[in-house]
Symmetry: C2
């Protein structure tokens, strides 16, 4: 990773001690590494983090509507449209008209979609095992719990 020449590297010992006190600094860095690696792992399947998440949610929730899906994944509906276009074009999902509400579409995965989702899950499980090698189950659960506590709050509110 170190692309810089040796002379430059040790001109001054670079310190990020001030930034390193902040959780946000570490979260951003770690998240970037995790998502980059995950994207590399599922790229041969023609998937990215976001497209996999959408596909997997459709597989797990047959008949889901686009608005529900956008809400669940916290993405804007206009952005979801483009992702679904790509999945539908590859015949991984279908958009089926809902008879009782002709504005809406029921999302369903095809067999190919379910198979691709399963294959991606296997690849991602291996990726996570590699990235978190050496982390105990207890520590992993602590991290999951703390991350889950991070909620959108009004700045200034002490809730």
């Amino acid at each position: 990773m170190a692309r810089r020449a040796k002379q430059t590297q040790d001109l001054v010992p670079v310190s990020d001690a001030s930034l390193a006190r902040f959780m946000g600094y570490h979260m951003k860095r770690a998240q970037h590494v995790m998502i980059s690696d995950m994207n590399a792992v599922i790229q041969p399947m023609g998937l990215r983090m976001i497209t996999f998440s959408v596909l997997n949610m459709v597989v797990e929730n047959p008949g889901l509507r686009q608005s529900q899906l956008a809400d669940a994944l916290v993405i804007e509906r206009p952005n979801l449209v483009v992702i679904l276009d790509g999945l539908e074009e590859r015949d991984l999902i279908s958009r089926d008209r809902v008879p009782t509400d002709r504005r809406a579409y029921a999302l369903n995965a095809t067999l190919a979609g379910r198979q691709l989702s399963d294959a991606a899950i296997c690849a991602i499980e291996a990726h996570e095992a590699r990235m978190l090698a050496g982390v105990s189950d207890e520590d992993r659960n602590t991290v999951l719990r703390v991350l889950g506590q991070v909620r959108r709050t009004k700045p200034g509110a002490e809730q």
Copy 2:
């Protein structure tokens, strides 16, 4: 945050159980919430996460060179140039020619830059205290340690 109408919300109980097994899913979500909140907090100072990080690093490491800074923050040098342009235009930092290597610039913060960095640090400390309210010091340290363990590795390698 729930912008969806009630009818739609409970048509089908939406499950993300499969995705939720993955650390990457939670990290991405939590990081997005953290960075959005932090950006909102320092936006009145004309700063964002990345511009604050750069400014703070220059404050903490007088004489730093652009390549060192890009390496330390893991950002591409072309992207750093634009950020430094903005900070220099606001007289928060200066780019000083290095006599011994006329290709390089030594980065230094101005008084205004140091003051703005200090003010931003205070705001970010409050933001972190709010976002992590209820998280014990022990759990916070565990999260920091685990996040720090997430390293760029070659996919396929078991290192």
